[in-house]
């Protein structure tokens, strides 16, 4: 378990600044998720922590040790790549034990460690197969096994689930959370999927344009977003955000936001008269897209049993306690 500290970290590729000064502390044993839209620099930040990318300026400390100019293999980190990056010519056993064999560890020790990791990840039956003979989820587990066997202080995950299908993804989310609980190691996880961030993180770091937009627990970000960007990025469906004159009428300086689930829709009375434009039925919930003359489109989440039809007239009312003003 180690603390990871980033101090004034910057990265430029030529004239382009990708990371524009990041200060961040990740506590020991924390599951920290970097989230943001593509191109926000989250992967670059992770690669700088891993040492695969050199920082332009700033300091990276792992467990109080300045590792800014230390080789990746000496930093006490392990990384799981988006494409798994398994060595195709080696068996699962050799893939997991590759780092140990490079370190010239005795064969018995390698076999014992690989066996233990394979047991944790339920890979024992596949140890002699080649990566191409495995399914996507199994490959992902091998990649995680290769990380675990290094016994690192910090685990780094670079969008590890984005190549899996939806069902497997939610299963792997649970497995990863279990793994984190079992190992208790510090984990840094990069994703563009806010659902992964919300479900897995102890701490979410929202990045935007090379800067940290907000840091906090999932519920903090959900309930008290620091900026319209975070408000819109966290939560699904997206928060309804209004800027300009309408926002000022609603008492905000420049932006007013209300989440779809914090709106009540009534056929008889309410704050904003609306027309139903579109209905998405999810079963338990129904997402209704409403049209208001002043605000434009309002998205609301209502109970699945409510019957709305396109063209219906209704009224939408925000929950005053849940309104967000910037």
């Amino acid at each position: 378990m180690s603390r990871v500290q980033l101090k004034e970290l910057r990265k430029s590729f030529g004239a382009v600044d990708v990371i524009k000064g990041v200060d961040l502390t990740i506590e020991p044993g924390e599951f920290c998720v970097f989230v943001g839209p593509s191109g926000c620099g989250k992967s670059t930040l992770l690669r700088m922590i891993s040492g695969l990318e050199e920082q332009t300026s700033g300091v990276i400390e792992i467990n109080g040790r300045d590792v800014s100019n230390v080789e990746p293999s000496e930093r006490g980190i392990a990384m799981v790549f988006q494409n798994y990056a398994l060595y195709p010519h080696l068996s699962v056993r050799e893939n997991i034990g590759f780092g140990l064999s490079l370190a010239r560890k005795p064969k018995t020790e390698i076999a014992q460690k690989v066996g233990k990791v394979a047991e944790i990840l339920q890979l024992s039956d596949y140890l002699d197969r080649k990566p191409k003979e495995l399914s996507g989820g199994q490959r992902q587990r091998v990649a995680i096994g290769r990380a675990i066997v290094r016994d690192p202080e910090v685990f780094l995950f670079d969008e590890p689930l984005s190549n899996l299908d939806a069902a497997l993804r939610s299963q792997m989310r649970i497995e990863l959370t279990d793994l984190h609980a079992r190992l208790g190691a510090t984990m840094i996880y990069v994703t563009h999927d806010q659902v992964e961030a919300m479900t897995m993180a102890d701490k979410i770091v929202v990045l935007n344009g090379g800067r940290v937009e907000q840091v906090g627990s999932p519920m903090e970000l959900y309930e008290r977003p620091a900026s319209p960007f975070v408000a819109e990025f966290i939560g699904s469906p997206k928060m309804n955000l209004y800027e300009g004159a309408v926002a000022q009428q609603l008492g905000a300086n420049h932006a007013y936001g209300i989440r779809p689930e914090h709106l009540s829709v009534s056929e008889t009375k309410g704050k904003w008269p609306v027309t139903v434009r579109h209905v998405e039925r999810l079963g338990a919930d129904t997402i209704v897209h409403l049209e208001n003359d002043e605000l434009g489109t309002i998205v609301a989440r209502v109970e699945g049993s409510r019957a709305f039809r396109i063209g219906d007239k209704a009224f939408a009312t925000p929950d005053p306690a849940r309104e967000v003003r910037f």
């Binding site: 990384m79 988006q82 494409n83 060595y87 780092g99």
Partner: protein, 274 residues
Amino acid sequence: MTRRQTITGLISMVVAFVLFVVPFLFVLINASKTAQDASQLDFSWPERWVFWENLVTTVQTRDYALLLAYWNSIVITVGAITLLVIFGAMVGYIVQRRPNRVTRIVYIITLSGLMIPPAVVPTIWLLQEINLFKTLHGMIFIQVAYGLGFTVLLYRNFIGTIPRELDEAAIIDGAKPWQVFFRVVLPLLKPVTVTIIVVQSITIFNDFTHPLYYLPGRDNITVQLTLYNFQSQFVSQMNLLFMNIMLITIPPLLVFIFFNRQIVAGMTSGAVKG
């Protein structure tokens, strides 16, 4: 199969037979004739089969020059191929993985080796200057120099298809740069390496002109030059010449038959999702 496919198939079989099999049969038949018979240079059946006698004579000629030539050619081919594979793969790897000004210049220089025709006389001067003229290792270096451009080109393009994440995963696993290359990248280059071994070894083994220029001398004879010697020494003994042709055609044929089935692609499938 449609009628049209049958006809085009038959035509191509006939063309292939005339181009590839008929010359070989011609060589085989003439190699089995007596000297007098072979000097007619026609495609007739031998009057008398003297295949074995011709073979023995050809091998024994000039104090077993053919065996020495086999040895020399094999040394040159194996030596040059080994160096070509190692250096070609290493240069291709660096040029592909680290695009910067230096590697771009290196790549251009390597490719110019493909485009600029080599000058023979200055090369001989240079070889004499560094005491490599008339030596087998000098000949190996010449063959490496001629083949390197093509080899680097092939390796560079193939390495482009190997995901960079593999290198990075190995680096995080603690691999030094040379370990990344020899333990991760080189094993994945097998398909292109086989291609290079087949193409270059046949080229080098069958090379006539370069050994003629750069490797004169009785002891330095290579297989293709044995033909030359035969022609001047036994002008009227075409049967031995054809026997010689047949004997030196065998090794490249073996290489081709052996490796042809091994040219396999798709070693990298499974590295990334696929």
